[in-house]
C-alpha cells in the first residue's frame, strides 16, 4: 500500500516537473522573441549581443510599428537608420526614412536562407525616375562591405560590426535607377556572393 502511494507521488512529481519545465520554456521563448534558426543559417550577430538603449526604434516609428504587429521591445539598431525587429515570430529589417518605414521579413528559421545578404530597396517617385532611393540590409558575419552596381556605376558601403548596411543614392546613382547587382565582399575585397537587383 505504502509502495503504491510512493509510486503515485513520484508520478505526480514527475508530471509537475514536466509542466513547470514546459511553462518555463514557453515563457523563455515568448520573452526572447527570437525566431528559431536552422543549422548553418545563423541569426544576425546583433541579436546575440545584449540590447542597449541605442537599439530602441525612435518613438514615432515605434508607435506605428506596434500597431501593425511589430514587437519593438527587442529591436536592435544595426546601422544608423536600420533596425532588426520581430513581427509575428518573423525577423524583419526595418528602415526609418523620414516618415516612411520600409521593411522586409523572413520566416523563422530561415533568415539568410544560405545567402550572405538580406536587404530591401525603398524609394519615392515614379519607378522610372525615383526622387529618393535607399538600400538597407543585414549581412552575415564574414561580409565586410557591400558593393552596389547601378549599371556601370559602382558604390561601396561598409558593413557595421552588427552586420548592418545602408546606402542612400547620390544624384548620379539616382539617375541610374535601381541597383542591378549587389556584391557581398570579404575583408580583402573579394566577392563572396552576388545578388541580382530587381528585373523590372
Amino acid at each position: 500500500m505504502q509502495g503504491h502511494y510512493v509510486k503515485l507521488a513520484t508520478k505526480a512529481s514527475l508530471k509537475g516537473v514536466v509542466a513547470v519545465a514546459f511553462v518555463a520554456a514557453t515563457i523563455a521563448g515568448v520573452l526572447s522573441q527570437r525566431p528559431s534558426h536552422a543549422a548553418g543559417d545563423p541569426l544576425p550577430e546583433a541579436l546575440i549581443r545584449n540590447r542597449t538603449p541605442a537599439d530602441a526604434v525612435p518613438a514615432a516609428a515605434a508607435s506605428v510599428l506596434e500597431r501593425i504587429g511589430f514587437d519593438v521591445s527587442n529591436s536592435r539598431q544595426v546601422e544608423g537608420d536600420v533596425y532588426l525587429v520581430t513581427r509575428h515570430r518573423g525577423l524583419c529589417v526595418v528602415s526609418v526614412i523620414g516618415s516612411e518605414l520600409p521593411f522586409g521579413c523572413a520566416r523563422p528559421g530561415a533568415f539568410f536562407k544560405g545567402h550572405r545578404l538580406f536587404f530591401t530597396i525603398d524609394e519615392d517617385g515614379r519607378p522610372s525616375a525615383p526622387s529618393r532611393l535607399h538600400v538597407a540590409g543585414v549581412a552575415r558575419g564574414d561580409v565586410a562591405s557591400v558593393r552596389l552596381h547601378f549599371g556601370a556605376l559602382v558604390r561601396t558601403v561598409d558593413v557595421t560590426s552588427d552586420g548592418g548596411f545602408s546606402y542612400t543614392a547620390d544624384p548620379e546613382a539616382l539617375d541610374a535607377g535601381e541597383p542591378t547587382l549587389l556584391e557581398a565582399l570579404d575583408r580583402s575585397g573579394h566577392a563572396l556572393e552576388t545578388s541580382p537587383g530587381p528585373p523590372y
Binding site: A60, F103, R107, D122, E123, R126, P127, P130
Partner: protein, 126 residues
C-alpha cells in the same frame, strides 16, 4: 422631439466611435489574393479618404520566400502626381511599408516584380 434628440445623439456617438476605430488602425483590408501571381502582375486597392488614411501596405505569405529571384514590390500612389511613395522592393517572405504623418489621398499597389510565378496576398491597413 425627445426621441429625435436621442437618435441624433446616438448617431453622433456611433460616428465618433467609428472614426476613433478607423484612426486606431482598426480596419485591415486584403485587396489582392491570396492568389497565384504571374511574372510582372500587379494589383491596386481603393483610394483612401480622410480620416481613413491607408498607412500600412504589405505583400506577404509569398510561396517563394527568400529565393534570390522572389521579388515583390509595394507602393502607395498619390492621386495628384501619381508618384509612388513608400515604395519597397525585396525578396523576403513579406515586403511592406508603413508611414506616419502622411495625410494625402492614395491607393496601395503590390506587384510580383520577379520573373517567376508565386502565390501571395496584399494587405492594407487604416
Amino acid at each position: 422631439m425627445v426621441g429625435l434628440r436621442w437618435a441624433l445623439a446616438l448617431a453622433a456617438v456611433t460616428i465618433a466611435v467609428l472614426v476613433a476605430a478607423v484612426r486606431a488602425g482598426a480596419v485591415e483590408v486584403i485587396y489582392a489574393g491570396p492568389k497565384t501571381w504571374g511574372q510582372g502582375w500587379e494589383a491596386t486597392g481603393s483610394w483612401d479618404y480622410n480620416p481613413a488614411w491607408w498607412y500600412f501596405n504589405v505583400m506577404e505569405n509569398k510561396s517563394c520566400g527568400y529565393q534570390s529571384n522572389c521579388w515583390a514590390r509595394v507602393a502607395f500612389i498619390d492621386d495628384v502626381s501619381y508618384a509612388w511613395h513608400c515604395s519597397v522592393t525585396g525578396i523576403a517572405d513579406a515586403t511592406g511599408c508603413a508611414q506616419f504623418n502622411d495625410t494625402y489621398v492614395k491607393k496601395p499597389l503590390c506587384k510580383n516584380n520577379s520573373t517567376i510565378v508565386y502565390t501571395a496576398q496584399c494587405k492594407v491597413t487604416t
